[in-house]
Each structure stands twice: as C-alpha cells, then as structure tokens.
C-alpha cells in the first residue's frame, strides 16, 4: 500500500486525516514541522506528501522548493493542504511544482481522501 508523508503542525488535523488514511490502508508518517518533514521526505521517499504551509521551523513553500531541487525526491507528488487562500500563495505553490492546492475549510474529510486517491492513481 502507498506511503504518505503528512507534514502538518495541527495535531487535531494530523490525527483525524492521518487516522482516516490509515483506516483506508495507507501507511502514514507524520511530521509536525517543516524541518522534520523535509528530513523524513528525503529519508523515507514517500509516494505522496501532504503539506501544510504555515509550519514551525520551515515554511511549507520552503519545504516544497527544497524538495523540487533534490533530484532524489523531486518527482514525489505534493498536495498543499492549507487554510491560506491568498492568490499569491497559490501561484507560488503551483510555480514551485505543487501537484494540487486544497483549502482545508473548503473540503470535507472524504473529499480530501478522494483527492489523495486520485493523485496516487495518476502516479501509478
């Protein structure tokens, strides 16, 4: 089953979405800040990364930029999962190579899981 790295500092979101994905059979690894997230991405080479933007220690966009610069992990699809809806942030994320950009408040738990499934299916 696919391996997902979930970089998110909100413990509640980590738990809810993390447990939901585990219930679907995915292997989910959690990181609560940008630095740990980047390290786990490079060492664990997940199939998909769910990335929040406002993170302690390293901003999500910096994490994305560093991921795209590293050839070993540059092809991993990254779903931005945030509550920031500024057009500037969306554009920057797309420019840096985000696979898709989801505003948490606009999606139900099931819709996010469906997006994860779609991105993973495309990759396969």
């Amino acid at each position: 089953m696919s391996k997902i790295l979930f970089i998110e500092d909100e413990a509640a979101i980590q738990k809810t979405l993390g447990d939901s994905l585990r219930a679907k059979g995915y292997e989910v690894q959690s990181a609560l800040d940008g630095e740990v997230g980047l390290r786990l991405a490079k060492s664990g080479k997940p199939d998909l990364i769910l990335l929040d933007l406002i993170l302690p220690k390293k901003h999500g966009l910096e994490v994305l930029e560093e991921l795209r610069k590293d050839e070993a992990v540059s092809n991993i699809p990254v779903i931005i999962l945030t509550n920031l809806e500024n057009i500037g942030e969306v554009e920057k994320a797309v420019e840096l190579g985000a696979t898709t950009y989801l505003v948490k408040a606009n999606y139900s738990l099931n819709e996010v899981i469906e997006k994860v499934e779609q991105v993973l299916a495309k990759k396969a």
Binding site: A23, D33, P56, N83, A105
Partner: protein
C-alpha cells in the same frame, strides 16, 4: 434619489470613512474648489481696480498656488491613508478568517470521522482511534474559537467605547491575588509556582476593575504558557509617585530581539512562540495595551530569549 443626496452630502461621506474633516478627501476637495473660485475673482477685481504693478499680482498668485499645492498634497495623503486602511482591513479579514477556519476545519473533520463507517474499524485496529480523543479535539477547538471570538469582541467594544470601562478605586493586589487563585490548577498542571509580593502601603488604583482583570489574566496566562517545562513566576506590585506599578517576571522562552518591536501588534506571534507550539490568537497583548492606553496606564517589557520576560505596567492612583 437618496444615493444622489448621499453623494452630495460631504459630511455624511466623511463620517462613513471615519476620518476627521481635515483629512477627508471630499471635504478638502470642496475647500480647494472654493479657494480657487474666490482667488480667481479676487485676482481679477484686485488686478483690475487696485494694483497697477503686475508683479504684485504674480506674487499673490504664487502664494495662493502654494496653499493649493499644500491642500492637493493633503488630499493625496488622505487617499493614501484610506487605501492603507482598506488594505489593513482586507488583511485583518484574511487573518481572522484563517484563524477561525483552522479550529472549524478541526471540528468538521473530527465530527465527520466520528460519523464515518471507517471509524468503528479504526477504533478496533488502531490504538489511537478512541472516541474520547476525538471528543477532546472537538472540545479544544470549540474553546479556541470561543477565545478568538471573545478577543475580537473585546477589541471591537474597546474601540467603540462599549466596554465596562467605568473607573473605580480598587486594589491591584486584590485583582492579582484573585487571578492567581483562578489559575492555580493551570499552574500546578504546568509545573509552575508563583510568588506574589506587595510593597508597603500600596495605594488603590483608579481604573476599570473588569478591564484590568483582563490585563492581569493575559499577562499571567502568557507567563504560564511560555514557561515551557515549568519554572517560577514572580509578581511584584509597588507604589510609585501618583501610580502603582505591576511587574510580572517569568523564566520562559523570552522574545527574540527582532520580534520585540511588534509584540503589541494585532495578530503578531513571535517566531519562537510559534516554534514552541504554544497556541495563541496573537490578540492578547494587543488587547492589554489597548486597555492600558484607555486607562491612562503604560506598559513595557524586558526580555531575553531563552531566559525569560518581565512585563511592567503602571496605573494612575487618581
């Protein structure tokens, strides 16, 4: 018809922008127009009847032009100020919506997961999938939203002067003792001890009791929250000429030097506070400063990163 009347009513429009008349673009524009009309007629009459030397007329025209230039500059500045206020309002709405969305998403997703078919499977197979943990998420996030809404309402009421700001004479020591008592359980859970010292013959302060209680609650709450892993908090209240000084010292994470100048700004959170994963709305110290300004008090602080912070405030005795 009403709209047309509103467009012509300069005073109503200036009131809508919430700026004084001297900074209201519409008003200044009308003043400039009146000056131009009066000046043109006056130049004509004066030049025609009384002044034979055209240099004097030129000098007067230059002087009036300078006045018009100053007014035009003020109008431009007023437009810039209004645009800035508009930008800040948009930014404020953006931040508030983000701050409200986070706990709302947590609530929504936790509820959706509790109601989902997968939940019972998870509860059986995962050690983490207990109902109570999701109810805790719901409880915590409801409290977060409540805190944010309370803070925003306090700010709005303070701005509009609708708070319980009736001044009376009361003991600051009494307020501090009461708040420390309320926070006893929180401090015990956070492994924190507090030492409250009172100077001799400390006079009563003249301020609003409920608002000053909010100030003390915020400062003590911050001292506890940012003392990661426990420590000591020292509170000292002493008398100064015509005022009383409150001092609260913690051994917490401190405020980085580069963040210190922003600490009383709305929604500002120091970098190390975010890194330390201490939850806050970023409105507490903004409210504290706002209250003390209203009460003719003063607030300042000294802080060293990783060593701690000392906040001071004073209140008048009469």
């Amino acid at each position: 018809m009403d709209d047309n009347f509103f467009q012509c009513n300069i005073f109503a429009q200036c009131k809508k922008y919430q700026v004084p008349l001297r900074q209201c673009p519409q008003f200044l524009f009308v003043v400039m127009g009146i000056i131009i009309i009066i000046a043109s007629i006056s130049f004509y009459v004066i030049g025609e009847r009384y002044v034979s030397d055209p240099r004097i007329v030129a000098l007067v025209v230059m002087m009036v032009s300078t006045i018009l230039l100053v007014i035009a500059f003020t109008i431009t500045r007023s437009f810039e100020d209004l645009a800035e206020a508009n930008r800040m309002k948009a930014e404020f709405v953006n931040i508030v919506s983000h701050q409200l969305r986070a706990p709302l998403t947590n609530l929504r997703w936790a509820t959706q997961f509790l109601l989902s078919e997968e939940f019972s499977a998870v509860a059986k197979t995962l050690s983490t999938g207990k109902e109570s943990e999701y109810f805790d998420i719901i409880k915590e996030n409801s409290a977060r939203m409540e805190q944010l809404i309370d803070d925003l309402l306090t700010i709005t009421r303070l701005k509009e002067g609708r708070t319980d700001s009736k001044k009376t004479k009361f003991s600051l020591v009494g307020v501090a003792k009461g708040v420390v008592d309320e926070y006893k359980a929180f401090m015990a859970a956070s492994n924190i001890s507090v030492d409250l010292k009172e100077g001799k013959n400390t006079p009563l302060v003249f301020a609003s009791y409920p608002l000053i209680k909010i100030v003390v609650e915020n400062l003590l709450g911050n001292a506890i929250n940012y003392s990661k892993g426990g420590g000591k908090i020292a509170i000292e209240i002493e008398s100064l000429p015509k005022k009383v000084q409150f001092k609260i010292k913690d051994q917490g994470i401190g405020i980085p030097v580069e963040d210190q100048k922003y600490i009383f700004e709305k929604f500002f959170r120091a970098k190390n506070a975010v890194k330390a994963e201490v939850y806050g709305t970023g409105l507490g110290l903004f409210i504290v400063k706002m209250i003390l300004d209203t009460m003719k008090g003063r607030i300042w602080f000294k802080s060293q990163q990783d060593k701690g912070t000392t906040f001071y405030f004073t209140l008048p005795t009469s």
